[in-house]
Symmetry: C2
Subunit: 224 residues, 2 copies
DNA sequence: GCAACGACATACTAGGCGGTATGTAATGGG
DNA sequence: CCCATTACATACCGCCTAGTATGTCGTTGC
């Protein structure tokens, strides 16, 4: 469930021979390549340090094309959040938001993340968390978008916990809002710190700790 | 317990009339002002986006002086970590590392942070966490320094938990390493996310959730 | 088939950045 | 009192950056 990396996006647009005559035009594909390469560059370097020239080179697209599709670097960043980051976050947490038993679903995700945590994630951290930390205080457009993603995520987990409390799979004496805040904080905090330690052990410890915490949310007497 | 902000550091070095004759020289003070203003600028903008000119202006120091005291922007950044960030982190967590009853000490810190969380923290987040997220993947010098701080912090809490397990103030069936990872992840994760939401409620929810978690670490039968 | 619009490509500009070269004044040991 | 060294101050440089101006070629409606 890692963010996919378009290593060689220039399948149609050659980076070396740009002005060839008779090349087919595929504006949608060009746009998508730009978004994907921009996402990768932003993930590696952060938004502000992301170089348009680097994005151009990795995507094999020229500056004129970029500014045809996106009005500015900021607009490109917004589009990356809207069209790449948001769907990615939503896909990751969808099983939890839909599950009847949130605890089981969250445990599955914990183990999945601990198992297939990619080098990318260990090296560069969570793209969503990175953008929050870098851009939220600086730019209103980023803040509003990231805030919305975070809000939906938070409310989704709260809803899941409440549903679990209603159907008896979650203890009734816990505060859904607090539980959600804890889960999200651990999720984002642990990847950031694992990035600092550059070693998966811390992340694994946090995931196992989160598993224990999730288990403690089950009602004392399961069913009878 | 917030990071202090030296708003007007130019008490001796005037920013407007720099070349006055007969000014006293206080290299240690100059250096300290540079460090403090650099810390503030880095806290606000991140290290890479931190402008030397901005640091120079806010501190009332000239570029010549800066490059006399620090060999490069990177060296200045390292010094900020060594001489400002590290002592600040250590002072914040010292009570927990020294306490006989870790849970009580941690609860006190939770409430203290929830009470006097500063606007600075809500706006710009935790300086330590910000630096980790920004610089750890990019620069070995930063990574090693931040890694060391995190390591000491982590090990300190692990030690505190084990001490608590030895003297009976912490349940013996929990894994100290996992508990420490959870606490640190929540601490750093929650401020980062609160920064995104720009509202203290999320942070408060996380802190209350952490309090509940800490309470759950107490042994079932207190003493008699 | 032609015109008009969309989709690029190339070359250029202005500004901010970290860093440096060089000058000069204060300071402290002999 | 002198002189070397420290502690600055000023002016400048080259680089990289986002952004723009302008030209040109595919594509499509009529």
């Amino acid at each position: 469930m890692k963010a996919s990396t378009a290593k060689q996006a220039s399948s149609l647009h050659s980076a070396k021979s740009p002005a060839k005559a008779g090349v087919r035009r595929q504006p949608d594909l060009t746009r998508q390549q730009l978004l994907q390469c921009a996402f990768d560059e932003i993930h590696r370097s952060g938004f502000r340090a992301a170089s348009l020239d680097a994005i151009l080179e990795s995507s094999g697209v020229t500056k004129g094309a970029l500014y045809h599709h996106f009005g500015s670097k900021t607009a490109l960043g917004y589009a990356v959040v809207d069209e790449i980051v948001r769907p990615w976050v939503e896909a990751l947490w969808k099983p939890i938001l839909e599950a009847d038993n949130v605890i089981d679903a969250a445990l599955r995700l914990c183990r999945e993340l601990a198992r297939e945590r990619s080098e990318q994630a260990l090296l560069y951290g969570c793209p969503f968390n990175n953008l929050i930390n870098e851009m939220s205080p600086l730019d209103l457009g980023f803040r509003e978008r990231l805030q919305q993603i975070l809000h939906d995520w938070h409310e989704g987990i709260i809803g899941g916990v409440r549903r679990g409390q209603a159907n008896g799979s979650v203890r009734s004496d816990v505060d859904a809002e607090q539980v959600s805040a804890i889960i999200i904080s651990i999720a984002e905090g642990s990847v950031g710190l694992a990035k600092a330690k550059q070693s998966p052990e811390f992340f694994d410890a946090a995931m196992r700790g989160l598993e224990d915490y999730l288990e403690s949310l089950r009602p004392p007497q399961p069913l009878g």
